[in-house]
């Protein structure tokens, strides 16, 4: 039996098809688990899928490069997906224009605070430069975060994991924390979710209110742009070595 499995597995494991299929199935399993858990943000389908695939890679002794040779076809779509964020941004432009000062200042303050505090805490607790620079872009939507990390010498895989984990954390605590601070404006809730927790947290507030959904989309798009400008500046101010 083991021999038969090996005979099928070994040639398939080096083709792109197997790892492409496994990535898709892992995502579907993650989606299914999330549904069973009543859409709880803790049961994040991407996190579940990453753990499933990672465990499979380690169990079969497959090197990551071999996996990525197949999965790169999915990875490639991150570029067009990032560009696609332009559409909700353009469709919600009327909201940006109407509260330009609020959106601009809140975005700038939130973006700088998240980026700088992330880098500062990692540095204070003895983390290295590459870890700190992987932390810096983690609040923006994952495809942009990955691209920025690559750009400044962070570790893209670590950034991806941090972006997802941070998004889950923001989704879980966001509403409670803001309500405790007596923030009762849907635009503020939406924008904060988009800026601090990108897509994961936005998915949490978007169904509650249309205005919150619009401002979450604005937060994701504009914060992506702003963070992509701030992080290279931070990296430049912190020379290697």
């Amino acid at each position: 039996m083991m021999h038969a499995i090996k005979e099928v597995w070994t040639p398939l494991a080096v083709t792109p098809l197997l790892w492409l299929a496994i990535t898709l199935f892992a995502y579907l399993i993650g989606k299914w688990i999330q549904k069973v858990c009543h859409d709880s943000p803790v049961a994040n389908p991407v996190l579940i899928a990453i753990v499933l695939v990672a465990v499979l890679l380690m169990a079969t002794g497959t090197p990551y490069d071999q996996y990525f040779a197949g999965a790169q076809f999915i990875h490639f779509l991150l570029g067009p997906a990032t560009v696609a964020l332009a559409i909700p941004l353009a469709l919600n432009a009327v909201h940006i224009r109407r509260s330009l000062r609020g959106v601009g200042l809140a975005l700038l303050a939130g973006s700088v605070t998240t980026t700088v505090s992330g880098v500062a805490v990692v540095w204070m607790l003895g983390g290295g430069r590459s870890v700190a620079l992987s932390m810096a872009p983690k609040s923006v939507t994952t495809p942009i975060a990955i691209a920025v990390a690559q750009e400044v010498g962070g570790v893209p895989a670590l950034t991806a994991a941090l972006a997802i984990a941070g998004g889950i954390f923001a989704a879980v605590i966001g509403q409670a924390v803001l309500r405790w601070l007596r923030v009762d404006d849907w635009r503020a809730h939406g924008l904060a979710a988009g800026v601090a927790g990108s897509g994961v947290a936005a998915a949490q507030v978007a169904p509650l209110n249309g205005l919150a959904a619009a401002f979450a989309a604005i937060g994701i798009g504009l914060n992506g742009l702003l963070t992509a400008l701030i992080v290279p500046l931070l990296a430049y101010l912190w020379p290697v070595g």
């Binding site: 995502y27 994040n44 991407v46 990453i50 695939v53 890679l57 990525f68 999915i74 991150l78 570029g79 990032t82 560009v83 696609a84 332009a86 559409i87 909700p88 941004l89 353009a90 469709l91 509260s99 609020g102 200042l105 809140a106 303050a109 939130g110 998240t114 505090s117 992330g118 805490v121 990692v122 204070m124 607790l125 983390g127 870890v131 932390m135 609040s139 939507t141 994952t142 990955i146 691209a147 895989a157 991806a160 941090l162 984990a165 941070g166 954390f169 924390v177 803001l178 601070l181 923030v183 404006d185 849907w186 503020a188 809730h189 800026v195 209110n209 937060g219 992506g224 742009l225 400008l229």
Partner: protein, 138 residues
């Protein structure tokens, strides 16, 4: 606009972004430049690309919302790369965990508070409507 044309717009904007990054030596990733260019284009000269006709959503909006809705799938390959970073996680778990928690809470609180207080002070007629929105649970 047809579905292939919608994808051509997205890929074309990305390509333009990558070209601009290389030519102008911009520190921004190509797709982010592409996103910015497309958003600006959609605001004025290409407004009709995303216009809704008879409540029907444009192909470009359809293509983009299906990409955005399933974005999670797209970053699994990059996320799995964490298997090559387990040593870093093991060594630096404390700064990583604390940095993540502190920066996420601060970002959330600062963005929410600033937005809340500025929009309230502006006392825009729209502000009342959004606070009292009957559809919400706040």
């Amino acid at each position: 606009m047809s579905m292939p044309a919608a994808f051509a717009v997205l890929i074309g904007a990305q390509l333009l972004g990558e070209v601009m990054q290389r030519v102008l030596h911009l520190p921004l990733p190509g797709p982010v430049i592409g996103m910015f260019l497309l958003a600006v284009a959609l605001l004025i000269p290409c407004k009709s690309w995303v216009a809704r006709r008879d409540n029907e959503v444009s192909a470009l909006e359809q293509a983009s919302s299906s990409l955005i809705a399933n974005m999670g799938l797209l970053f699994i390959p990059a996320g799995v790369g964490i298997v090559t970073e387990l040593a870093v996680l093991k060594r630096d778990w404390l700064p990583i965990l604390m940095g993540l928690l502190v920066s996420t809470v601060l970002g959330l609180v600062v963005t929410g508070l600033v937005m809340h207080h500025i929009t309230r002070r502006a006392a825009h007629p729209d502000a009342e409507a959004s606070v009292l929105n009957p559809g919400g649970s706040l």
